[in-house]
Amino acid sequence: MKIRLVEQSFDPWQEIARHQSGQPALAGKFGATAVFVGTLRDFNQGDAVQAMRLEHYAPMTQKYLERVAEEASARWPVEDVLVIHRYGELRPNDPIVCVAVWAAHRDSAFEACRYLIDELKTRAPFWKQELTPQGRRWVEPEAD
């Protein structure tokens, strides 16, 4: 299980490949890998989005991402979990978050991946501030 918060732009596909090849104990144990990648759009609520600043409460974010990953690992028979989440200044087309789950079978991989992304979005302390042509605005919780 690996949870990382990163300030710089990252390539989720490279990170997933690197993580998997760095875990030789995984080889032969998984038959399914489910991946979710969240990417910054260039529109939201009818406005153009030029950039986004993602603020977070660093130690609490890390703690909650780890907790959600532990919950998913306890609930489904998964072999490994990788979560990478950006913070700081993002541009449209930048990956925001990547969740990858390795499991013996696809049901567990899909369900654990879905649980992870849904839970981290509602529990991890992140706040989005968008830059639109009208200026900067905090995203309201029900808006996205």
Partner: protein, 78 residues
């Protein structure tokens, strides 16, 4: 004998500060920490965390605690 106070996002901007250190004297719960540090009523829907765990405003606090106040999180609803 002090408590560390943290503010985030729109609340940080509204108060014009991200951190504060306050004396424990007269402080019993998280809401007291807000009153002493912010000096304005607690905005509705404000979330509270004590030592990085979500808490209610009436949760007791003590010396050495870190108490944070922030708006609802916006990781994305769908």
């Amino acid at each position: 004998m002090s408590i560390t106070v943290r503010f985030f996002a729109s609340i940080r901007e509204k108060l014009g500060k991200e951190q504060d250190i306050i004396e424990c004297k007269g402080i019993t719960c998280a809401a007291d920490v807000w009153s002493k540090s912010a000096g304005i009523p607690l905005p509705p829907n404000t979330l509270v965390a004590v030592n990085m765990e979500y808490a209610r405003p009436d949760q007791p606090v003590r010396d050495g605690d870190e108490v944070a106040f922030f708006p609802p999180v916006t990781g994305g609803a769908r």
